[in-house]
């Protein structure tokens, strides 16, 4: 009997609330639905952003991961295979056009459009070839992305280490700048030496003493030497 009473009581309470608070319930439902819709919209809109716009550290992590893969498969891939594996990630992670411009310093402005395009092509190939030739083996190294600092005058610095067993780790300070809504590597510093400044010192010296065409020829020669010397 008590159970029945409880049943009635509950039933009555249900009926009572349904009959008296119907608009409130509808409002609640609407609120819930709109909230869910809002969440879904927010999720949808934020997802592509998260996928399409990796942060500076993500760029380095992705680059390191491909570099490590290339090192691990170095013998199997050979020079050409490493080149092909690294090409897309280097093109995607480095501000190659900006770096090529900076590498020839003030002489960039004196170049005609077709000369710039040709030089950018050679510069890009030389950059990839250097990586493919230099990172040509694996002896237990691992990469670690340690910190991210900045931005300072638009440049974010990501510290990444290459750790080799039983050896001192080597610090790489990657300098990244946001270009076309994307973080791209513009320079790498090791032991206080900026690779971009180092490249520029050499390029400018060659242009001054031997001319621009000779610089392009020297780069092409270097690419060929890498290909010949390192082909496995």
């Amino acid at each position: 009997m008590r159970a029945g009473e409880r049943k009635d009581c509950c039933y009555n309470r249900g009926r009572l609330s349904r009959s008296t608070d119907a608009p409130a319930v509808r409002r609640k439902g609407l609120l819930l639905v709109s909230g869910a819709l809002f969440l879904v919209c927010a999720l949808i809109s934020s997802l592509p952003a998260a996928i399409e716009k990796p942060g500076p550290a993500d760029v380095i992590k992705r680059f390191n991961s491909t570099l490590l893969e290339s090192m691990k498969k170095a013998d199997e891939l050979g020079y050409r295979g490493r080149y092909n594996l690294l090409e897309p990630i280097i093109r995607d992670s480095f501000a190659l056009s900006f770096m090529a411009d900076q590498s020839v310093g003030r002489y960039w402005r004196g170049l005609k459009e077709e000369e710039r395009k040709a030089f950018l092509k050679t510069y890009t190939e030389w950059t990839i070839a250097t990586y493919a030739a230099r990172f040509d083996g694996y002896s237990g190294e691992k990469f670690e992305t340690v910190s991210e600092s900045g931005p300072e005058r638009g440049i974010v610095t990501v510290l990444s280490k290459i750790i080799e067993p039983e050896k001192d780790s080597v610090d790489f300070y990657y300098k990244l700048r946001k270009m076309d809504n994307k973080w791209l590597i513009v320079d790498i510093q090791m032991s206080g030496v900026s690779q971009l400044a180092l490249t520029r010192a050499q390029f400018v010296s060659v242009i001054k003493n031997k001319g621009f065409n000779n610089l392009a020829a020297m780069l092409r020669k270097k690419i060929e030497a890498f290909a010949k010397g390192k082909e496995q």
């Binding site: 411009d101 900076q102 310093g105 003030r106 002489y107 402005r109 004196g110 170049l111 005609k112 000369e115 250097t130 030739a133 230099r134 440049i155 039983e166 300098k175 513009v186 320079d187 032991s191 206080g192 030496v193 900026s194 971009l196 400044a197 180092l198 490249t199 520029r200 010192a201 050499q202 390029f203 400018v204 010296s205 060659v206 242009i207 001054k208 003493n209 031997k210 001319g211 621009f212 065409n213 000779n214 610089l215 020297m218 780069l219 270097k222």
Partner: protein, 291 residues
């Protein structure tokens, strides 16, 4: 080999005389080269001069500074380069370039013809841990160089670390053979030398100079090298060839540890002479900036 430290007596006097001669030579050289330094530091020094040479390139040459006429003159281009630049273009005084290039070639051949093959043999006989221990031993012995330069740069913490490292490594590290201080207590070696100390006092690099066997340096760092010599214990060994032998042994062992670095560096470089000069100055400047 006799390797006794001279607490007193004729040995130290001989070493002292030897250093006095070297120092006197360097001071004389400094004064002889003073006009060159002044020339190198003037605004119309190497960088501007090189620019002028580029402008003088012969007809039909590929020099772009001439090719497109007025819009690519150095001066105009200089004005245009501005906020876009990530690292400013700096000219490095190199008035001794002919000498330096000759020494670069000498050292380069010494490396490829002698040092590298001999080091390969040395590395094959002595495993890496042995070579690292030899390096640790010399590094521990040269603590006075780093300790005194920490003090001269008024960096007490740095001096304290060096003192602690010396105590720990000389005892628990078996006379400095093992860098226990670094691996167990994270006390890193403080890379300080007299060249840096002079730099911290505002003394400029002077100019670039490559020494046979020793490699790239600057006028200031060369003077610094002599100063550090006075603080290096094994340089007081007598007779002189023991000191020289210890120096050569340390130099050779240190290079053997990183024997392929120069080869890799040269292979990657487009203009190895310029690359080495630029890397040397950048690295040294980064050490001063750290302070």
């Amino acid at each position: 080999m006799k390797t006794r430290f001279q607490g007193n007596g004729s040995g130290r006097q001989t070493a002292g005389r030897c250093f006095e001669k070297i120092s006197l030579g360097l001071v004389l050289m400094f004064f002889l080269l003073l006009p060159v330094i002044v020339y190198a530091e003037t605004p119309s020094s190497s960088g501007a001069k090189e620019g002028a040479v580029a402008g003088e390139a012969g007809p039909g040459g590929a020099d772009i500074s001439k090719k497109d006429g007025a819009d690519v003159t150095d001066a105009a281009a200089e004005k245009e380069t501005g906020p876009e630049e990530i690292a400013p273009e700096e000219s490095i005084p190199d008035p001794l370039e002919p000498w330096n290039r000759a020494m670069f070639t000498f050292n380069d051949r010494l490396y490829f013809w002698v040092m590298r093959p001999v080091s390969k043999g040395y590395n094959a006989v002595f495993p890496e841990p042995v070579r690292v221990s030899v390096n640790n031993f010399f590094s521990n012995l040269s603590t006075p160089v780093r300790f005194v330069n920490c003090l001269l740069q008024a960096q007490l913490k740095c001096a304290g670390i060096e003192l602690a490292r010396l105590s720990v490594n000389s005892t628990i590290g078996f006379g400095g053979l093992f860098d226990v201080a670094r691996y167990n207590w994270h006390m890193e070696k403080q890379d300080k030398d007299f060249g840096q100390t002079l730099g911290s006092y505002g003394i400029k690099d002077g100019f670039y100079i490559i020494w046979p066997f020793l490699g790239p340096s600057s006028l200031r760092d060369t003077v610094g090298m002599v100063g550090d010599g006075y603080l290096t214990p094994w340089d007081y060994l007598t007779p002189w060839y023991n000191a020289a032998g210890a120096d050569a042994g340390n130099y050779f062992n240190e290079n053997a540890l990183t024997i392929d670095d120069y080869k890799d560096f040269k292979e990657s470089a487009i203009e190895p002479y310029v690359a080495l000069r630029d890397a040397f100055f950048q690295h040294r400047q980064s050490l001063y900036k750290k302070e």
